[in-house]
């Protein structure tokens, strides 16, 4: 009898590192590095660090920031999927849209942020300024990853769908979305990375308004970090950084690593 190829369906690269070891590598180690760096930069550790830091408030600020990122991400996903599918509608659509997306993506968003902030001050929704900023930052990572994912689907897969009359919603749910899942995960990881990167800027609104205009920073871990820095509260600064690093690492560990692993089963060979 012929030998069957026994590849694991759980992924081509089964990670053999134990859960505890991975948790150490991804969460404990980065936080420890932050704390070590704080010693190097002259922070004196004593009991006051643990008493005067408002940990509960920092966690609330982290939650507010996370919600802002999540709303921007959800909006990016909703817009990115039709935009990516639109490029594959026809060769002409692709030839027209991809250069347009390239130009739009290359716009330096930070340069436009003051305009966005002033616009949202006028209409009275300051939170939206940050969400729009994050949305634009996150959008293109997802769009471009989905476009390359679409191109990587073997042409015959579309033929199979056509041949067996799989159309409409079933085509999206049974064929297209599963086939795009690996590139969607990659795009999402990059989008969130960009989002965390920009969050400090997006929450510190007072830095982007002309003199004379009064505006409060948004409630969030990004603005807490900047305010701790400007007030010279090193302990609070280190605590805020540790919380951000821990949140990013936990997200990476419990969401992105799992999704990357899961996405392996959707990849064409």
């Amino acid at each position: 009898m012929k030998q069957v190829h026994h590849y694991s369906h759980h992924g081509r690269h089964r990670n053999k590192i134990s859960f505890v070891r991975r948790l150490h590598l991804l969460v404990v180690l980065p936080v420890a590095l932050v704390l070590c760096a704080s010693v190097v930069f002259g922070l004196e550790f004593d009991q006051r660090i643990f008493t005067h830091i408002p940990w509960g408030l920092l966690l609330l600020q982290l939650t507010a920031t996370f919600l802002r990122l999540f709303i921007a991400y959800a909006l990016s996903v909703v817009c990115a999927i039709p935009l990516a599918l639109w490029t594959q509608k026809s060769r002409r659509a692709e030839e027209f849209l991809l250069p347009v997306f390239d130009v739009l993506e290359s716009f330096p968003m930070l340069a436009f942020f003051p305009v966005i902030v002033i616009f949202f001050i006028d209409i009275g929704y300051l939170n939206l300024a940050a969400v729009v900023m994050l949305f634009i930052t996150m959008l293109w990572s997802i769009v471009f990853n989905l476009v390359s994912g679409l191109k990587a689907i073997p042409r015959d897969v579309f033929s199979v769908a056509k041949m067996f009359h799989i159309g409409g919603l079933r085509y999206l749910l049974d064929i297209l979305f599963p086939a795009l899942f690996p590139s969607f995960v990659t795009g999402s990881i990059l989008a969130w990375a960009g989002g965390w990167n920009i969050i400090i800027v997006a929450e510190v609104l007072h830095a982007y308004v002309p003199s004379g205009v009064e505006v409060a920073d948004l409630f969030g871990i990004g603005s807490a970090l900047v305010s701790a820095s400007t007030s010279g509260d090193k302990a609070l600064f280190i605590a805020a950084i540790s919380i951000i690093v821990t949140a990013i690492m936990l997200l990476n560990f419990f969401v992105w690593q799992k999704l990357l692993h899961f996405a392996e089963r959707f990849k064409f060979e």
Partner: protein
């Protein structure tokens, strides 16, 4: 009775004319193999029969919805063997769910895949994947099946076994089969009629009257092969 007929069919992609006036017919229950060098238009011809491409000019008539087996099996990696085969009947509204399951089971059994029903494509060998591709093609009980170079990536032993099984299914189910191949040996072993294509036209039609199973090494086979080669 003709189940497929092409009359002066052309196909162009922009300025490139891939098919240049194809006239051919296929009778019900015949095993037809189309051979020819790469880029001669044989796969395009097959895709037009399948309804995956539209002819530029001419008239195409196909009596039934054909099913197709692709070169690389094109299984969905997120579906197991049963799920992939189910794809062939999932859209049939006139078949109940229990009957669909029954048809899938029958196809699995016919292709000798019983022990792999819950395996995923990457857990299968190339030959097993192609068996799943064939099972998916036959599960909806079509009367015409198209094969687009289905064995080009398989080893000789697997190919030989699959040849036998395809001939078995063909005669049991009284199918009409049209296969595109680059192998003259394969064409002579399987076909009732061989069409040779070159530069977008059919340059020769050869009827093979030999009984099956055929021996690729006998004198008659060798002479047919030599004759077909002269058209390449």
């Amino acid at each position: 009775m003709n189940v497929i007929s092409f009359a002066a069919v052309t196909k162009s992609y922009g300025k490139i004319e891939v098919l240049k006036g194809i006239d051919f017919t296929v009778r019900q229950g015949f095993f037809v193999v189309i051979v020819g060098p790469s880029g001669c238009g044989k796969s395009t011809l097959l895709r037009i029969i399948a309804g995956l491409e539209k002819e530029t000019t001419g008239m195409v008539s196909v009596s039934d919805n054909p099913s197709m087996v692709f070169q690389n099996s094109t299984l969905l990696p997120w579906r197991d063997v049963s799920g992939n085969i189910m794809l062939g009947v999932e859209s049939k509204r006139d078949v109940s769910d229990s009957n669909k399951n029954l048809l899938v089971e029958q196809s699995i059994e016919l292709m000798g895949l019983t022990q792999y029903t819950s395996h995923f494509p990457r857990e299968l060998s190339g030959g097993q994947r192609q068996r799943v591709g064939i099972a998916r093609a036959i599960v909806g009980d079509p009367s015409i099946i198209l094969f687009d170079e289905p064995f080009s990536a398989l080893d000789a032993e697997t190919t030989e076994n699959l040849h036998r099984e395809i001939l078995d299914i063909w005669s049991k189910k009284q199918l009409t089969i049209i296969m595109v191949s680059h192998s003259l040996d394969e064409a002579i072993e399987l076909a009732d009629i061989i069409y040779v294509m070159k530069d977008g036209v059919i340059v020769h039609k050869e009827c093979i009257g030999m009984d099956r199973p055929r021996n690729n090494k006998d004198v008659h086979t060798e002479s047919i092969k030599a004759k077909l080669k002269s058209f390449f």
